[in-house]
């Protein structure tokens, strides 16, 4: 039980998907303009990462390994993630329009998101069992949402400030992310 907790803590705080793996930068730069869209993005990513990595995990150990097709893992995982996102969008559009209103815009962006694919592959390369896979997926998405939310609060102030003309927008956001990475790397001694 102990190492599940350390795995969770390390994926959320220390080995954070954005700050130490640089993944999910496209939504991180594009969507973090305000807090509500950051939260919406966070929940959409949480739902997709956990769903997609469980599907990929099942497909890998039930279909690819018995058939000896491990080398197909990259293309299978991409198709699984894409199918899952399309299915979710379709399901929300048809049955839960209210949820679609808040998450709908973010779902198509996640189909080709580096973070989702990384988690699906990471569960396999580390040969995690089911419990570790779930904890890893939830941990990564919580870490993503946490950093995205904190960053959106900072970014609201950044947009209000008047930096050098050439720093406006993304360059300043990147440097702020660098400072956040510095702060979070201080937690490394936690585990």
């Amino acid at each position: 039980m102990g190492d599940l907790l350390t795995l969770f803590l390390s994926t959320v705080l220390i080995d954070n998907i954005i700050l130490s793996h640089f993944l999910g930068m496209c939504p991180f730069m594009g969507v973090s303009k305000n807090r509500s869209s950051a939260l919406g993005m966070g929940f959409a990513v949480l739902f997709v990462i956990v769903g997609a990595s469980l599907l990929s995990y099942a497909l890998y150990y039930l279909a690819l390994v018995p058939l000896g097709l491990e080398y197909l893992e990259l293309i299978t995982f991409i198709l699984v993630i894409a199918c899952f996102v399309q299915f979710t969008e379709l399901f929300l559009k048809k049955f839960i329009p209210s949820l679609y209103k808040s998450l709908g815009i973010f779902l198509p962006l996640i189909t080709t998101n580096c973070a989702v694919l990384y988690v699906a592959l990471d569960n396999i390369t580390n040969s995690y069992d089911l419990a570790h896979t779930i904890v890893n997926s939830v941990g990564v998405s919580v870490g993503f949402m946490l950093i995205l939310y904190i960053f959106s609060t900072i970014r609201e102030r950044l947009d209000a400030s008047t930096p050098l003309k050439s720093f406006v927008g993304n360059p300043l956001a990147l440097i702020t992310a660098g400072l956040m990475a510095l702060a979070f790397s201080g937690l490394a001694g936690l585990i």
Partner: protein, 168 residues
């Protein structure tokens, strides 16, 4: 509705062709990759027991730190991965337990630790402080690199416990 079937068929054919290309590429590179893997494995083990032959053992492990276990002529070699300052699985090292009850060798395979601080776990004085010690004897932490050295020691203790439980 008919359009949907045509689209489904089209993408299925594209995916099948992709699969075929991947199988072809896989067959071409399969043995080279296996050869690479065996070569690096052997090279790592040779550091602990030069010239000995090794037999890979399967093992049960709940610490999650033991990567693989080998039986050599004069002892056992554990390949370990522990979480240091550089995050999850940032330090990978090999440790050899001799049948004479002493640690026969210790070497770091890869370390994501900070340059000049955590990387001391791979340097000569820490290595010599570990090699030659009796199995189970306590190893002191490097002052100034406590996170990394404590992580390595945690790994060594896990290997020792597993060794004493199974092969002593």
């Amino acid at each position: 509705m008919k359009r949907a079937f045509y689209l489904a068929f089209f993408l299925a054919v594209v995916a099948a062709i992709a699969g075929g290309a991947l199988t072809f590429a896989n067959d071409m590179t399969k043995d080279q990759i296996a050869a690479n893997k065996a070569a690096t494995e052997k090279a790592n083990l040779e550091i602990i027991y030069p010239g000995s032959d090794f037999e890979k053992l399967d093992f049960t492990d709940d610490t999650g730190m033991i990567v693989s276990v080998y039986k050599a002529n004069e002892g056992y070699v554990y390949q370990m991965s522990t979480d240091g300052f550089g995050g999850k699985g940032s330090i990978e090292f090999m440790i050899g337990f001799g049948t004479d009850g002493k640690i026969s060798g210790y070497t770091v395979l890869s370390s994501g630790e900070t340059q000049g601080i955590g990387s001391k776990v791979a340097e000569a004085d820490f290595v010599s402080s570990v090699t030659g010690k009796d199995i189970g004897a306590s190893i002191d932490i490097i002052s100034g690199a406590s996170v990394s050295s404590r992580a390595v020691i945690k790994g060594i203790d896990a290997a020792t416990a597993h060794y004493e439980a199974n092969y002593k």
